[in-house]
Symmetry: C2
Subunit: 536 residues, 2 copies
């Protein structure tokens, strides 16, 4: 397979941005940026220019691969620039300000396990750091190299390994290579009437291997919230050897081998393929939304729903700010978006019970008269469109010098109300202190559990021109601190990467830290795999 | 808390058997044993006598605890004998033949974390093996010591740590000490209207810590089949220090710390307490059974149910032999036992859809007219009673010189029919070769998944008098071999212990084996924790 340096999306042939979210043809134009900026007092009058790779100082690679591996590796500046960072606000603004993270020396695109193993062998011998790279949509500094402890940095791009290799229609499973982007793998499953149905916001720009390595959250709001449960077996190539777990529907033979690599973020090995549990496409769907004048009562409604066995596929609660921004409400009410889906039986009864439950806690809303598209359902569609557009708008606001980012967490229900209040207050205060401007801090619940929920926060404020990274780091430090004091996880489904290390180190139990360090030494004896992520 | 040497059940005040299953007052008497033996050609004419502790040669302990720990430790022969083994057939017959496993030198009953840590410190300094012990119901050699690499053996009985320490009614969770037996913890939850609803066959005789350490299977046939999903946070005391994971409903911060200790079987640390996710008691229940003249079609029916989203709480398929033995059918048909339960809404509709699905695959059965106890429901009750009585009957048959044991596994659906056929044929052949008698090999499916199922096999055959252990070991070797060739797990929910090591070592992926060994060295540097389990 030839090495392609330009970032053209393999499925759509649309150009991918090297510095910002998604497709360049979906980026807001300058006029739109100005329009958005006007909503945030204190932002720039004109957008920052779109950064160009040619303006970066990209040196010669500090290492040369052996001839046997040369065909897998490129030193092309575009390729290297587009593998330098993920897609957090912090990454985008660094690119806009011409101060990206360390550019990798080389980008490798292996096409088979053996090539991955060979690259790891070579890197281990030459003290080359290896940063596994899927779709590059990390928002936690998971795909960049920091520091200078290694002689060179190799970005290991898995997207040339993107095939569905085998399908078991009896047991509804498929063996899929880790580098397949969401649409690429779904496209190969569709002819078989099957689907993985894992739809993170980054679906178009993230890979199966990335989802597994970061324990990604999908669109299911309940029960199977993370990709973890859909992994039947993993193949992992480590510097100390490769291995594949058996395809098993369930097992009690020792600690789960797969659960050690799920969430390992490329620090213990490279996930190269996985047998995944699939589903039939849903034949029955329904959705509705309810308004709440009181956010606390809406929280109670969501808790009641999460503690029922109704298992809504969608159960998203938008606070008034979030509902306003997405167009789901305009009167200051909170909005609960409910959705049910099934390949087995109609779901109208489940929605009816759910609506009754929500109304008992003050929810206001009609049952939809039919399937999607009814008036009661408008908030659902409005919210979905806004959801997919959000990262593009974030980048547009970044061009206006704004500081706009999200972070998510999870905590038990007893802590949720105080946690949300505290985040609003303390993160807002930190933003004000850092910028002199009032910040918008909105909240939605994205995934809910019988014992707790996952609040997702959005912060937007005008930055100090040129100092946006420092402003965000101050705000993020305040967020980390408030989450820690409320015993809320540093991340529900965005992974740890390098940006979440301070919070992660505080919450990880000491015996598990010892176990992880010992495992790292055993599997990655030269310490080349994604250095700085999860562990030092 | 005083050390009690006699094994009186704390909840019921009924006497516990030191050598066999459960309560001694529930053991079949001699006449019943003879009656059962008559059903298996070749068994003894009269039952083996009930073994007495006084007949064992129990030496003086090879080690003396320091005065500071003496009050936690006993060398009482009854206590030591009852902690020498688990409750597998292999254990029972060894006791009956007067050849139990190595008797531990001491039994300790700590009442607090610090005492556990102190005992581990002392044991580490003096090369004393520590075998964590909950209810002692292991059927895989998980609670005995084998070999002589250690100076002495301490059985660490956790059942004095049996309190529910804290209840969060908002998030429906409880902090429970690991030594609480099933009825002991449910009794403390009941006044709060909450339940863990984890009902393994050993419910009365196993502890929360044992369930967590072995990834026990509960009564839920679908979705939450193992205890794993109900663990919110674990506290683990290791020789290298203690730690507690945060109470989180979900998290994506690195690999799950809890999943490393779930299934660690006392080799990495001692689980001393856990926050567990609870449920309301179900308000709606219904069940029904269907008969199938064709087992293969019954398998298809179960697969269809498992791949639906109906989530039956009970979905057990009994093959003709199993159905006959339990009284669920007498005409050679297979029986599918279905049950639904909910605290939210009536479940009759879900049962109706399920029955339709099963009938479409040849199932014959009426919908129940009302709740439990209707004629259509008789098979359910018959099977449940037989289920709880089974281990007692096994011991009665053991006294007649029979070899009677179960083993369970799991595999993907594409492998299930051939796997079940192969186990029947090969295990039957091994039993015939070892004994000269035709064996009964029955099968039921206990837990089912969209991608596979967990078959549970029962073997019964007359043994060679005095050589029953060797006979069983031959049969088990054949079972291990056939499971391995069919890539079926060595255990779905009975754990690995020492008995399943040959199968476990074959199926564990090499990188995970390296990780586990490294973790063991880091957390248990003196190698005192449950030596021989999972690892050498």
């Amino acid at each position: 397979m030839p090495v392609t340096a330009t970032a053209i999306d393999p499925g759509t042939s649309r150009p991918r941005s090297w510095w910002g979210w998604g497709y360049t043809d979906a980026h807001p134009d300058d006029a739109e940026c100005v329009e958005m900026g006007a909503l945030l007092p204190g932002t720039l009058a004109r957008p920052l220019p779109i950064p160009r790779v040619a303006d970066l100082s990209i040196g010669r690679p500090g290492v040369t691969p052996p001839p046997s591996l040369a065909h897998l590796v490129t030193a092309d500046p575009e390729a290297r620039a587009s593998h330098a960072m993920g897609k957090a606000y912090r990454d985008v603004i660094r690119a806009l300000r011409g101060r990206p993270g360390r550019i990798p020396d080389l980008v490798a695109r292996p096409t088979a396990d053996q090539e991955v193993a060979d690259l790891l062998d070579w890197a281990g011998e030459h003290a080359v750091a290896v940063v596994p790279f899927g779709g590059g949509s990390s928002v936690v500094g998971g795909v960049e190299y920091r520091g200078d402890a290694h002689r060179a940095v190799l970005s290991l791009d898995l997207t040339s390994m993107d095939r569905v290799l085998e399908i078991d229609t009896v047991g509804r499973s498929a063996l899929i290579q880790a580098g397949a982007l969401g649409p690429v793998l779904e496209g190969q499953l569709r002819p078989h009437g099957l689907t993985l149905r894992h739809f993170p916001q980054s679906f178009e720009f993230s890979t199966l291997g990335g989802w597994l390595a970061t324990r990604a959250g999908g669109h299911y709001a309940t029960v199977h919230t993370h990709i973890d449960d859909f992994a039947q077996s993993l193949r992992v190539v480590t510097p100390a050897g490769a291995g594949t777990s058996w395809r098993l529907p369930g097992s009690g033979a020792g600690p789960s081998p797969d659960r050690l690599f799920l969430g390992s973020e490329g620090t213990l090995g490279v996930i190269t393929e996985a047998w995944m549990r699939l589903q039939e496409r849903p034949r029955h769907k329904t959705s509705a939304s309810l308004a709440f004048t009181d956010f606390r009562r809406a929280l109670d409604a969501v808790r009641a729903l999460a503690q029922s066995d109704l298992a809504p596929a969608n159960c998203r609660l938008l606070d008034p700010g979030e509902a306003l921004l997405s167009g789901a409400s305009h009167d200051g009410s909170s909005v609960l978006v409910l959705g049910f889906e099934s390949a087995t039986a109609p779901v109208d009864d489940r929605l009816a019970v759910a609506l009754d439950l929500a109304r008992a806690h003050g929810g206001i809303g009609e049952a939809p008269q039919a399937d999607r598209g009814t008036p009661a359902d408008e908030a659902v569609g409005a919210w979905r469109s806004a959801f997919l557009r959000m990262p593009y708008l974030r980048d547009g606001l970044a061009r206006m010098g704004a500081v706009v980012e999200t972070f998510e967490t999870a905590a038990t229900w007893d802590r949720i109300p105080a946690l949300i209040d505290a985040v609003r207050a303390e993160v807002g205060a930190a933003a004000l202190k850092a910028t002199g401007h009032e910040a918008t801090v909105n909240c939605r619940l994205t995934h809910v559990y019988p014992d707790g929920a996952a609040p997702y926060f959005t912060v937007a404020v005008a930055g100090r021109p040129g100092d946006e990274v420092a402003v965000w780091d101050d705000i993020k430090a305040a967020a980390t601190d408030v989450l820690h004091r409320h015993r809320a996880t540093i991340t529900h489904h965005h992974a740890v990467g390098r940006d979440h290390r301070p919070g992660y180190d505080l919450q990880r139990p000491a015996p598990f830290a010892l176990a992880l360090r010992a495992t790292k030494s055993a599997l990655d004896p030269h310490g080349i795999l994604n250095p700085g992520v999860l562990l030092d």
